[in-house]
Amino acid sequence: MSREKSLLEQIQSGDQRVIEEVYILYKKDFVAYASRFSVNDEDVVDIYQDSIIVLYENIISGKLVSLTSSLKTYLFAIGKYKIYNSLKIKATTKERFSDYEFLFKEDNEEDFLLKEENIEKVQKGYQGLGTRCQEVLKMFYYENLSIEEIKNRLNYTSKDVVKSQKSRCIKQLKEIVLKLR
């Protein structure tokens, strides 16, 4: 449990290599676990990778702050949900999937009909940004870090520096996207 706690903390601090460690750690057990369901091997690996991504996102976004169960149990619950999804089996109501139904739907997007092609253009724009900009925007939009946290993570002198850096990057991104539109 203490090892899992340290893994969790390392991922929270933005260390992506640790998620690879977690990936290797539970891969074998997950494949064995998934063999109870009639999923083919290729899909199992795919599902496992997606489950790891969900786990990662929940950790960095702060949805998973502390573990009530083990990291493995949590990961396998995500995996099970995804297996059921892929098999189009409705989970029985007894199964408490509500704990893990995250990220598949964003609650504040409901009022907006985001166009897939616009998102793709922004994605291309993001790819075209320098690493410093990508880093700041990733921390803000993906990892959901506060300006204060970004300041600490990147060793900036003040929150204002972070803010101006961020708005410069967004401006740059906007310009690239406008050219694409």
């Binding site: 990936y23 985001l114 616009n118 922004v122 994605q123």
Partner: protein
């Protein structure tokens, strides 16, 4: 609070109920504000997509590396098995080196007769002479001398002399003669030297027949015979 702060809070889902109400009103009234919010949501969605794809790629290449390693190690294992197998095959298919086994095992039977031999038929001189040749390793002369005599001892040492003189076929012929075959005294020696004789002339099957007799009857040579058997098979 300015509008960009509001948008920030909204994007990070950190807005309070009050702030959410303000945002909702602003969006209803101000289409520019609404498209600004929309743009930030697009950024979030786009970065999320990009980062997921990057992580996915990372995991896929991790998986690929693992498989490559496994594949590589599998190939090493196959190669190792092949090499060892080929080695063993080579070892087992090595022609039996009869000459080598013969040389390693053949030792001429010592003269245990002459010091006590007393031939009262006047042939004492000739058997003493024969053993004299035998002891001085002049096996050709010894063979001639022993061949002229008719005792059991003389017959046995005649065969030994022939072997010492590399006349193996003839030695075998003598050893298989009636009186040596029925000899209680030389039975074990005969089996052993016949086995070696057949070995020398590369008659594996016959050699094995006598080796089996040695293993069965001759305690002192059983383990040597066993070793030769293993090499022959």
């Amino acid at each position: 609070m300015n509008t960009s702060d509001l948008i920030e809070k909204y994007i990070q889902k950190k807005a309070t109920a009050e702030e959410l109400e303000i945002i909702k009103q602003l969006m209803d009234r101000d289409s520019e504000f609404k498209s600004e919010v929309s743009f930030h949501l697009e950024i979030r969605k786009a970065i999320e997509k990009e980062e997921r794809e990057r992580l996915k790629q990372r995991l896929q290449s991790l998986e690929q590396n693992k498989q490559n390693k496994r594949f590589l190690s599998l190939w090493w294992k196959i190669a190792a098995v092949f090499v060892v197998g080929a080695g063993l095959l080579w070892l087992f298919n090595q022609p039996v080196n009869y000459e080598k086994i013969y040389v390693e095992n053949f030792e001429i039977y010592p003269n245990i007769v002459a010091p006590t031999v007393r031939d009262f038929n006047g042939s004492e001189e000739s058997i003493a002479k024969a053993f004299n040749y035998y002891d001085s390793r002049n096996y050709r002369e010894a063979a001639k001398a022993f061949g002229a005599l008719q005792t059991e001892d003389a017959h046995f040492y005649y065969a030994m002399s022939l072997m010492g003189d590399h006349q193996i076929e003839k030695a075998i012929e003598i050893m298989k003669s009636f009186d040596l075959q029925s000899s209680e005294k030389y039975k074990n020696q005969i089996n052993w030297y016949l086995a070696l004789g057949y070995l020398k002339i590369r008659d594996k099957d016959k050699s094995i027949i006598y080796l089996k007799k040695v293993i069965k009857n001759d305690q002192t040579r059983a383990s040597d015979a066993q070793k030769i058997m293993l090499k022959l098979k």
